[in-house]
Assembly symmetry: C2
Homo-oligomer: 341 residues x 2
């Protein structure tokens, strides 16, 4: 498996036009919208640049330009809010406190409810919509005939003309293994979650690539796939130990799995991190900071995702054409469960 492809992000953008014409984005926007504040000569230069780059402004976005409400709708099916809340916080804060207000709508994985919310949001004249899936897999587009910009966060849209910002799960898998390798671990297992999730395979592929580059593979030959639960973590760790594998590092697909792994290792008398280093995923404070020992984990930086999603919505309103999938890097949060041998 290769690194997740970044689709071509756009044809040319307003920023490209501005650069070619040697003016600011604001001036380019004014020139293309025939605002009086721009000199005729500048306007002509901007229009020539737009023509040269085949720049297609978003007409609908332009028509809304003058009547923004500063509101954004966030439609999610993440009932617990564990993933959508940090995304909302990032969106809300993208332009400073109070500049953007976010309607949080829970679709509860129900397409009819989602349409209800969409209709309500449009009638409330939101400037744009952020769609956050309940899992990091591709989802259907809301449709291309919505007259405000729509940005997909966490779960990418299946429609190639939509813009989505997602977590770089492949890179995160690499990052986890590279950290274990840096700790001097070479006999590494991967206990991960539900194999129906695309992220499960992306993380495993990134992990395997990092191992292979160092002439290694998973000690058990393949990742152990199960569910995103502590009980699976306990069970899988039991299995690894009882099969007699010699292990000095375990990369877990979630902090809950890691929590179960830690419990089993402790009960089996294996010391963490001295004998076996363990790294989790999600950086879920309630689990990572309360386990024994505290858990090193991968943070998906969802606030950054939300921040970018909101900024992109307003860039699209300003005339930028954005499409394709943009993957943001994760961050390693170092605690006690990993250390150099």
């Amino acid at each position: 498996m290769n690194e997740p492809a970044l689709l071509p992000k756009s044809q040319s953008t307003l920023a490209d036009v501005a650069r070619l014409a040697g003016v600011s984005v604001a001036t380019a926007s004014k020139a293309l919208n025939d605002k009086p504040q721009v000199r005729a000569e500048t306007r002509a230069r901007v229009k020539a640049a737009a023509e040269q780059l085949s720049f297609l402004p978003n007409i609908l976005a332009q028509s809304l330009h003058q009547q923004r409400t500063g509101t954004v709708g966030l439609i999610t099916s993440d009932l617990e809010g564990r993933f959508s809340i940090p995304i909302l916080l990032g969106a809300e804060d993208a332009f400073g406190a109070g500049a953007v207000s976010v309607f949080l709508c829970d679709a509860r994985d129900d397409a009819i409810r989602e349409r209800h919310h969409l209709r309500a949001l449009l009638s409330r004249r939101v400037d744009g919509i952020i769609v956050v899936g309940s899992r990091p897999d591709p989802r259907q587009t809301l449709g291309r005939n919505i007259d405000v910009p729509v940005v997909y966060a966490y779960s990418p849209s299946l429609h190639e003309n939509d813009y989505s910002v997602v977590v770089d799960n492949y890179g995160a898998g690499r990052m986890a293994i590279e950290h274990l390798l840096a700790c001097g671990r070479t006999k590494i297992a991967h206990i991960t979650g539900d194999p129906s999730y695309g992220a499960t395979h992306e993380r495993a592929a990134g992990a395997r690539a990092a191992l292979n580059e160092n002439g290694l593979d998973f000690v058990s030959g393949h990742p152990l796939e199960g569910s995103w639960s502590e009980s699976w973590g306990r069970g899988a760790a039991h299995m690894l130990l009882s099969q007699g594998h010699d292990i000095d590092g375990i990369f877990c697909g979630s902090d809950q799995i890691a929590r179960g792994v830690l419990d089993t290792l402790r009960e089996a008398g294996r010391r963490v991190p001295e004998d076996i280093a363990v790294i989790g995923f999600d950086n879920w404070e309630a689990f990572a900071a309360n386990s024994r020992p505290q858990l090193t984990s991968i943070d998906m930086q969802l606030e950054k995702l939300g921040n970018l999603a909101a900024r992109k919505l307003f860039s699209i309103l300003d005339g930028e054409t954005a499409r394709g999938i943009e993957a943001l890097p994760c961050k390693l949060v170092y605690r006690e469960s990993t250390a150099a041998l």
Copy 2:
């Protein structure tokens, strides 16, 4: 300590007026607002009823009545969203999907941010505001000069003229102990959290009242207060065991504390629930359903709280005068960690 007082909820409401006049609430509203659809005789009867009951309609609410936006602002400082999300879901669903959209604003426990959000919400013409505190203790009012209704949920307002809907922590403490007593337990300890929280004392007081009514008290003579963490749960359980107390039940102030208690009991070779029954608080699925054994817990029914908060906002818009603190009962969620002796 007595049960939390219910302040007088209101002077008379529009519903009272309608009942006395023998008409529907809608008709009473139209009559008082001099709408043409009401016969003169009916109007006179309604106005007489209003006078008899000293009914004081909410003038500001009336002025907004005709121009509702169907939007509500929810201002919270609960960064994790663990308490505010269920409240939001309840509010969002109070009138069916899409009927009410909720702006979720995070004040991050910062008064300046809270004012920013409040100003933004008012400029966006929300119909009302729900304030959700980051902890269940009383908080300052947002002020009485806001021209939309404000309802406080989870954390009550300190201002007696505000309306707040909160969790009945006292009743929840009773409920936990009554369940342990029903399981035949009589040697009961209470390991709870941060003593700076009012809820800590309310739950303990309810628990003690239920014990006293049965001629019992906490085995250690008093609740063990600490923090809302697993590590405190582990430490407190260690302490109880090492002091040689004979214990057959433990009421924990949170599921995280209970999780720590369960870990210590298992490691000490005490069987749950056979030797010691354990009950938690919060019904936090990720902890309660993943512990060994699965944890019986108290659910605060926060969706009901949010539902009531939203309904109350719109009742106030319809002319009801609501003030004081209303406490909603919790619910016992029975799992494996408690059972009859």
